[in-house]
C-alpha cells in the first residue's frame, strides 16, 4: 500500500466507526422515545402519576 492508502484507510475507518456509533445511538434514542410515547398514550404513566403524585415525564 502507498502512504496515501494508509491515510485514506485511517480516515475511512474513523468515519465508519463514528458513523455507526452515531447511527446506533440515534436509533436507540428513537426506539425509546417511541416506546415511551406508546406507554403514555395507553395511559400507563398518567394513571401511575395520579396515584404516586410524580411529575409528568419525570425519570426514575
Amino acid at each position: 500500500m502507498t502512504h496515501f492508502a494508509f491515510i485514506a484507510a485511517s480516515y475511512g475507518v474513523a468515519t465508519l466507526g463514528l458513523g455507526l456509533l452515531a447511527a446506533w445511538l440515534l436509533a436507540d434514542y428513537g426506539r425509546q422515545r417511541r416506546v415511551l410515547a406508546d406507554l403514555e398514550a395507553r395511559g400507563v404513566g398518567k394513571r401511575s402519576r395520579r396515584e404516586t403524585g410524580d411529575a409528568p415525564g419525570e425519570a426514575p
Partner: protein, 243 residues
C-alpha cells in the same frame, strides 16, 4: 441550591434538549475547519504525508482516556452519593469511550505499518491502550451480565476505579519503559515539541472531536434516562395488571 440537586434526570433532559443541537453543530463546524487545516498543513520532515493520520489518531487517544476518567469520576458519584445521573453518565460513556479507543488502536496500526514497518508491537503504550479497550468491553459485559440495575452499577463502578490505575500507566508508559512509541510531544514539561504549523490543526481537530464526544455521550445519557423511564412504566403497568 446544591449542585447535586441541579444534576437530576429531569433537569438534565430539559437542559440537554436545548444545548445538544448546538454542541453537535459546533462539533461538525470545528471538525470541518480542523480537517481543512490538517490537509493544508505541510508534510512532516520525517513522516511525510503520513503525519495526517496524527490529526485523528492523537485526539482518539486523548478521548479514550478522557472517557475512562469520566467513568471513574461517575463511579465516585455512584458509590458515594448513589446518584442516578452518575450511573447514567457512567453507562452511557462506555460505548463512546470504547469506540474512540478502538479507533485510536486501528489508526495507530495504520500509521505504524508505513512508519515502523509493522502494524503492532507489544510495546508498553500500545499494550496499555489495548488493556484500556478491554476494560471498556469488560465493563459493558459486566453491566449486561447483572440483571439488577443498582447492583450492576455498583459492580461496574468498583471495577472502573480498580481499572483506573491503567490511565496513568498509559500516559507515563513512554517514560517508564523503553518503547517504540514516541514520548509525549504535546502535553509535556518544557512545552510542545511539535512545530506550530502542525500543532494548531491538531488542537482544532482535538477540540472538534471533544465536542463530538460530548454530543454522543449526552445523546447516550438521554437515551438511558428514557430507557429507565420506560422500564419503570412497564413495571407499574405489570403491577397494575396483577392488582
Amino acid at each position: 441550591m446544591a449542585i447535586l440537586d441541579l444534576a437530576n434526570p429531569v433537569r438534565f433532559l430539559s437542559l440537554s434538549a436545548r444545548i445538544l443541537p448546538w454542541i453537535a453543530g459546533a462539533a461538525v463546524v470545528t471538525l470541518a475547519v480542523g480537517f481543512f487545516l490538517a490537509f493544508r498543513a505541510p508534510p512532516d520532515y520525517q513522516q511525510g504525508e503520513t503525519v495526517r493520520i496524527m490529526y485523528i489518531h492523537v485526539p482518539f487517544a486523548w478521548l479514550g482516556l478522557f472517557g475512562y476518567s469520566l467513568m471513574a469520576a461517575s463511579s465516585i458519584g455512584i458509590l458515594v452519593w448513589r446518584h442516578p445521573l452518575a450511573d447514567v453518565a457512567h453507562k452511557a460513556a462506555a460505548p463512546v469511550g470504547a469506540t474512540f479507543t478502538a479507533l485510536c488502536l486501528v489508526t495507530g496500526a495504520l500509521w505504524g505499518r508505513p512508519m515502523w514497518g509493522t502494524y503492532w508491537v507489544w510495546d508498553a503504550r500500545l499494550t496499555s491502550m489495548l488493556v484500556l479497550l478491554l476494560l471498556y468491553l469488560g465493563l459493558m459485559a459486566l453491566r449486561a451480565a447483572i440483571d439488577e440495575p443498582n447492583r450492576a452499577g455498583r459492580a461496574a463502578a468498583v471495577l472502573t476505579l480498580v481499572g483506573f490505575i491503567n490511565v496513568p500507566i498509559v500516559k507515563f508508559s513512554v517514560d517508564w519503559w523503553n518503547t517504540l512509541h514516541q514520548p509525549a510531544s504535546v502535553f509535556r514539561m518544557g512545552g510542545s515539541t511539535i512545530e506550530s504549523s502542525l500543532l494548531w490543526p491538531l488542537l482544532v481537530c482535538a477540540i472538534g472531536f471533544t465536542l463530538l464526544f460530548v454530543a454522543l455521550h449526552m445523546l447516550g445519557m438521554r437515551t438511558e434516562i428514557l430507557r429507565r423511564r420506560v422500564q419503570a412504566l412497564e413495571a407499574r403497568a405489570a403491577a397494575e395488571a396483577m392488582a
